[in-house]
Structures are given as C-alpha cells and as structure tokens.
C-alpha cells in the first residue's frame, strides 16, 4: 500500500504543469478564472487544438485512435492539474462521450469520419438524451425516428441539452420501435445540427446564463449511415456512454482550486480588517471541507486503482459523484458566506469576485441534479452496492 504518487507519476505531473504554464493562453486562463463565458466555444476549441498539438487531445483514448495511452492515474493527474491551472474543461460530449461509443460500436467509416474532428478541436458535439418527462427515467423517452428509404425522419423534443447552442453535431437517443418495452426500442444516432427542421432555444437559468437548451426536431432527415450499431440496440450504447461520462466525477481539482480561491479572496478582503479565516467558526467550516476533500481524493484514487484492475467503472462512482458535488456546492456556499452582503449584487460587470461567487453558488445547484441526480445515485448505491 502506497498512497503517494510514484516518481514516474510525479515526473508526469511536473510535465503537465510545465505544459500548462507555458501553453495555456493567458487570455483564456483569465476568462476561465473570471467564469467569463463570452468566448466559450472559441476558448474550448482553441485549447483542444493546443492539447492535440501536444499529443494530449484525448487522454483516455487508446493510442491507436490518437489517444495518449495514459494510465487512469495519469488521466486523473492531468485533469486535476488542468483544473488547478484554470484551463478550460475539455468538452466531454465529444472526447469522453460520443467518441468511446464510436470506438466501441461505430463502423470504421464512422470512426474515420467523426473522431478526427473531435480530437482536433474542429467539431463541437452535444448530447440529446433527456426529454420532457424523461429525465431520471430516461428509458421512457419519446422522440421518434422513422425509417424512410436511406434516411431516418426525426420528430420530437430534447431538453437539458448542454451548450448545444454552439454545436456542430448532436448524438441522440431516439425511439425506433414504440411497440416493445421501453429499453428495447431505442436507437443511437448522430445528427448534423445544421439539418433543416432543428430549432434550438436556450433556456435562461436562475443565474442569468444560458447553458442548456431545448431542441425541437421537426421532420429532420438524417442519413441512415449516421446510425450507430444496430437499430433498437441504442440503450446498450447509452449505458456504455453513461459509464464513461463518470471520469473525473468527483471534481477534486475543481474543489482544490475553489479552496485556493477562497483563501485568496479572504486575504484580499482582510485588508479592511481581520481575515475571516481567523474566525474559528468560519475556519472550522473550511477545515471540514478540506478534510472531506482530502479523504475523497484518496477514495477517488482507490476507485481508479480498482477500475484499472477490473476494467469497468462500478457503482462506486456514485459515491464520488455525491460527495464530490456536495463538496463543490459547499465551497460555493463558503464563498458567498465569506463575501456576506457584498454577494447580493448580480448584474455588476463580469470582473467582480462577488458576482462570480453568487453566480457560482446559483449555478452549481445543478451539480446535484444533472448527470444523474444525487437521489438517483443513492438509489444506485442502495441497489447495486448494498443489495437493498
């Protein structure tokens, strides 16, 4: 048993740090630091191109497809260092979600057609899973895809589509057979967002930002060659994808960065008086989070270690999701509580730490809702781990 990174892993970490220090453009880093999403598409794709140029465009892909061949631990180190350096998160929908499905279930033609655009930072992908009434109960989805010659005709609505307003492509779960039980009649298909009949309406969120969309499909015609695998087997691919969505689910790096920033803000506010971190009551709340985060990092590494041996992410990821999101949310509460009445302002210009703190507090409410609500995660633990 050894909880420390090996010398090789430490050398790798230093290499990543070095790369981030020299290659992450300052204007992108500063926008990320300010949570300024005015250039979100450009920033994320530019960073993807820089990563690709370094050969790190797809940490988790097999080397055959242009991936790094890194171990799970290296991937963990990489993602955490990126968070700590205020680098943009890679867009998961392409690199982490549709790509593994393509590599596992796509045809050679599909792989050749779509994977380069993902790793090279050309195509923006988004996800068409949830529908009105089909959130946690995803298998009840209703959007229709009817075969018509060499095409499918899509009709229906997707909701909680993240950042689809910038997307070139969307991967969708659609119902191709309404006569069988829900899981059996679903297919997985790739749709060009420029197709006629697609309407995207961004939803204004409680923090005033536009991060999710409703998307309507009105007789959208999609070439049958865009179907992944076999018709009506989409549920299998969807579950496979959801398993892959879960890397970095604990958000250790983001939480560490959040605590660093809490210290920075506390020190800056202290010019007018004492540092709030010298208040034992507030400091105890901070210590509590630090402590839980330290434990969660070890728990995360334990899960990674077990996965590397068993080759399958297990229901343990639900624990990481629950505690990880709780910690991120609590750090956002600490930011607001540190700022106190200053956190009331919500429409000052973007360069204001109170505004960022308040926006983050509001926005991060989503963490315990999206990606499988924490209630669903507790159900999974009860059923899959505890056997209840």
């Amino acid at each position: 048993m050894d909880l420390d990174f090996s010398p090789d892993e430490l050398a790798f970490r230093d290499e990543v740090r070095q790369f981030l220090a020299t290659s992450l453009p300052a204007e992108i880093r500063d926008r990320m630091r300010r949570a300024d999403e005015s250039h979100v598409r450009e920033d994320i794709l530019a960073w993807q191109r820089l990563l690709h140029a370094r050969g790190w465009g797809a940490p988790a892909w097999p080397a055959d497809f242009g991936g790094t061949g890194w171990s799970k631990t290296q991937q963990y180190i990489f993602e955490n260092e990126c968070s700590l350096a205020d680098a943009p998160m890679q867009l998961a929908f392409g690199v982490k979600m549709v790509a593994p499905v393509l590599m596992r279930y796509g045809s050679a033609e599909q792989q050749a057609r779509f994977l380069p655009g993902i790793i090279e930072g050309k195509d923006w992908w988004c996800q068409g899973y949830s529908e009105p009434g089909s959130g946690s109960d995803l298998a009840s989805l209703k959007m229709k895809a009817e075969r018509d010659g060499d095409e499918y005709v899509l009709n229906g609505q997707k909701v909680w589509n993240t950042l689809g307003q910038f997307a070139d492509w969307i991967f969708c779960l659609v119902r191709t057979d309404p006569t069988v039980k829900p899981q059996k009649g679903i297919s997985f298909i790739l749709v060009d967002m420029k197709s006629p009949g697609i309407t995207v309406r961004p939803t204004r969120l409680l923090d005033g930002t536009f991060e999710v969309n409703e998307i309507w499909f009105d007789n959208v015609r999609v070439p049958a060659e865009n179907l992944i695998g076999e018709e009506n087997l989409g549920w299998t691919y969807a579950k496979f994808l959801l398993g892959h969505e879960r890397t970095n689910i604990a958000g250790i790096g983001a939480s560490k960065r959040g605590l660093q920033r809490l210290r920075e803000v506390a020190a800056r506010l202290a010019r007018n008086g004492r540092n709030r971190l010298h208040d034992p009551v507030f400091a105890t709340r901070v210590a509590q989070v630090e402590m839980e985060l330290r434990a969660l990092e070890i728990t995360n590494l334990r899960v990674i270690f077990a996965e590397a041996r068993n080759h399958a992410p297990g229901p343990e990821a639900s624990m990481l999701k629950i505690r990880g999101t709780e910690i991120l949310q609590r750090i956002s509460e600490l930011h607001v509580d540190l700022l106190g009445a200053s956190a009331l302002g919500l429409d000052a210009d973007g360069d204001d730490e109170a505004l960022q703190a308040t926006r983050a507090y509001l926005n991060l409410r989503k963490l315990s809702i999206f990606g499988g609500s924490n209630e669903i995660q507790r159900n999974i633990i009860a059923h899959m781990i505890l056997g209840l």
């Binding site: 409680l206 009331l344 315990s368």
Partner: protein
C-alpha cells in the same frame, strides 16, 4: 399568550393577499422585473390606495398605525408574492425614522406624501449594523457637509428622498438629501433577488441646516432597522410558504418511473423537514415581530439575532431543497421556484448575515 390576530390585522392581511393574487401574478412580476426601474409605480399607487403605505404612520400623523403585527402580515403577503416594490425600504424603515425622529414640520411635510405613494424615501445606512456609520457630517457655514459612500442600498436609486445616516462628531444624525443635490451620486444595479439596489456616494454634499431630521438619531435609526428586520423576516417567511407549496405541487404532478415523485419516501421526508424548518421559522418571525419594539435592548437584540440566524438557516435549507426537488426545472428562470430561492438567498445576506447574527446571539446567550 395569544396567537390570534385582531379583525383589523386579519383584514389587512386579506386585503394584501387579495391584491397580490389579482394584480401580481408571476407573469406580471416577471414583466415588471424586466423594466429598467425594476418595480412598478402603478402597483405602488394601488398599494397606496389600499392604505398599505400608511400602516407605519401613526394615527396623529394621519396614518393607519398597524404596528409590527400589521406590518408582519402585509410584508408576509408581499414576500409570498415575491414583490419587487420598495415597501420595506420606504413604507417601513424610512417612514419609521421620519415618524420617530422628525420634527412636526418634517412629519407634516413627508409622511402624507409617503403614505400616498407620492414620495419614496430610503434610509441610507448599513442595514446590518446600526452602529456602523458610512458617512461623516460636518457642520459649517450654517449647513452640513456630507461625505462618504455606501454600497448596495436597496431602492436608493429611485428614492425621492435619501435619509443619510452620518456621524456628527458628537453622535449620529439623519440628513435628508434629494438625489439632485450636487455631489450626490447614486448608481443602481440589480440584486440577486431581482430588486434594485444602489451604490451611494456623497462627495462634498452641502445641505441646509434644516435638512437634519430631528436630533440624536442612533436610537430611532436602530428602532427603524429593527422594525425593518422584523418585516424582512416576515417577507422571507412568505417566500418560504411560496416555495414549499410550489415544491409540494410539483412533486405531486411530476411523474417518473410511472409514479409522481412526491410518492418517493426519501423526497417526502425531505419535504417534511422543509415544513419543520418553515414552522420553526414562522415562530421566529413572530418572535422578531413581538420583540422589535422591546425597550429592553439586550433582550431585543438577542431575540432578533436568534430569529434572523435561524430563519437564515431555514431559508438556505428550504431554498436549496426546493430547487433540488424541482430537478432541472428548478435551475431555470421560468418557474417561481428559482426566484423564491434567490429571494431567500438575499434574505440570508441582508440585515446581518446568518453567520453574523449567530455569532452575536452566541455572544449574548452562551458566553454571558
């Protein structure tokens, strides 16, 4: 011990509830929030017609004098409606200061206009700490020079009369300043709850000696802020009622896995806990109302700190759970839940944060 309301108090509550039910739907509020000023002068005039702006004016000054309990009931109904109007700032706090501190002339000049809605006044001071004066007043050449600045004063951007609290050298004074006075800079911005607040800068503002409101002002300012705090607590309780009712209704109607999610026991228990928080908050709102005029200041302060701190905790729990139980819908701007959630967040931060009030309470009751 008596938890009933008088017929007059009940009537005041019914009036306000009927008014917001018929004139202040969620869509109306949404439209008002989107305007430049962020509140409605038309609604304000209707509130004046109903007498709601005169409930903190004494009868001898021509008001309804409904007292803390009447104010509690009106503020609660306005909070439930998530009202954006400056009721608390003008019709409670500023009205209080003028009524308690102003000379007969000043009262006669301003109170009728406040009650009729023609004048909107705002007390410019740190609402979280009556002892903290952000402004300095210097007497000179037959008048007063005012200097200082303060951020985040609710509704100061639309006030016709700024009642600036300033240190005078030998105490605390309140000074009536119109926003047009040279050297007065008021810049409005939005608060997280959709109301407007302003940063107020007084840069060498000179006013006439007669602009001072009454004499030593610390007591009346503290009394007015305590009345404001009690009303704010009631406002928050209204928002809690709104958000809990919305959550119950949502979970009853939202179907997942073939059943309403409100039938899932884990969610039921969460809502039961929300109810307990809310009923404990209601008790504390009553306490704040009963104590905000207590002449025993340490006793009053202890009670108000406890009320604000406990209600702040309830606001956080209820607000967060309401959003969570609404799922993705709770994250959007489209339902009332997120707006009530943000109003509850503002409640936590205003008039002394939960942390600050709990620390004060602790020093009063535990260490003492």
């Amino acid at each position: 011990m008596d938890f009933s309301f008088t017929d007059e108090q009940q009537m005041l509550q019914d009036t306000t509830r009927r008014f917001v039910a018929s004139r202040y739907s969620f869509d109306v509020r949404h439209a008002i929030a989107a305007t430049a000023e962020g509140w409605s002068r038309d609604v304000w005039a209707q509130m004046a017609d109903l007498g709601l702006l005169a409930i903190n004016i004494r009868e001898e000054d021509g008001g309804l004098d409904a007292g803390p309990v009447g104010t509690m009931l009106v503020a609660g109904a306005l909070g439930e409606a998530l009202s954006l109007e400056p009721f608390l700032a003008s019709a409670v706090v500023a009205t209080h200061v003028i009524g308690n501190l102003g000379s007969a002339t000043q009262r006669a000049e301003w109170l009728p206009a406040l009650g009729s809605g023609d004048l909107l006044a705002v007390l410019v001071t740190d609402e979280g700490d009556a002892l903290h004066a952000a402004f300095e007043a210097r007497e000179e050449r037959g008048g007063w020079w005012l200097e200082g600045s303060l951020q985040g004063v609710y509704h100061a951007g639309v006030a016709g009369l700024l009642l600036v609290v300033a240190r005078t050298g030998d105490g605390t004074g309140v000074f009536a300043v119109t926003p047009e006075t040279p050297g007065v800079h008021v810049s409005s911005r939005g608060s997280v709850d959709g109301q407007r607040m302003a940063d107020v800068v007084l840069d060498g503002v000179h006013i006439d000696v007669s602009a001072r409101v009454g004499g030593e002002a610390l007591g009346p300012v503290r009394d007015a802020l305590d009345a404001g705090l009690a009303a704010l607590c009631s406002d928050a309780l209204g928002a809690m009622e709104r958000i809990l009712a919305a959550t119950i209704a949502y979970t009853r109607s939202r179907v997942q896995f073939g059943t309403p999610i409100g039938s899932f026991q884990a969610l039921q228990h969460r809502m039961a806990e929300m109810l307990i928080h809310m009923e404990q908050a209601r008790s504390m709102s009553y306490l704040a109302t009963a104590q905000c005029t207590n002449p025993d200041l340490p006793e009053r302060r202890e009670a108000l700190c406890a009320a604000k701190a406990l209600m702040g905790q309830a606001a956080r729990y209820i607000g967060q759970q309401a959003v969570q139980l609404h799922g993705g819908m709770g994250m959007t701007d489209e339902l009332d839940v997120s707006h009530a959630f943000k109003r509850l967040l503002a409640f936590e931060l205003r008039y002394g944060t939960t942390d600050e009030r709990l620390a004060s309470y602790r020093e009063h009751v535990v260490v003492a």
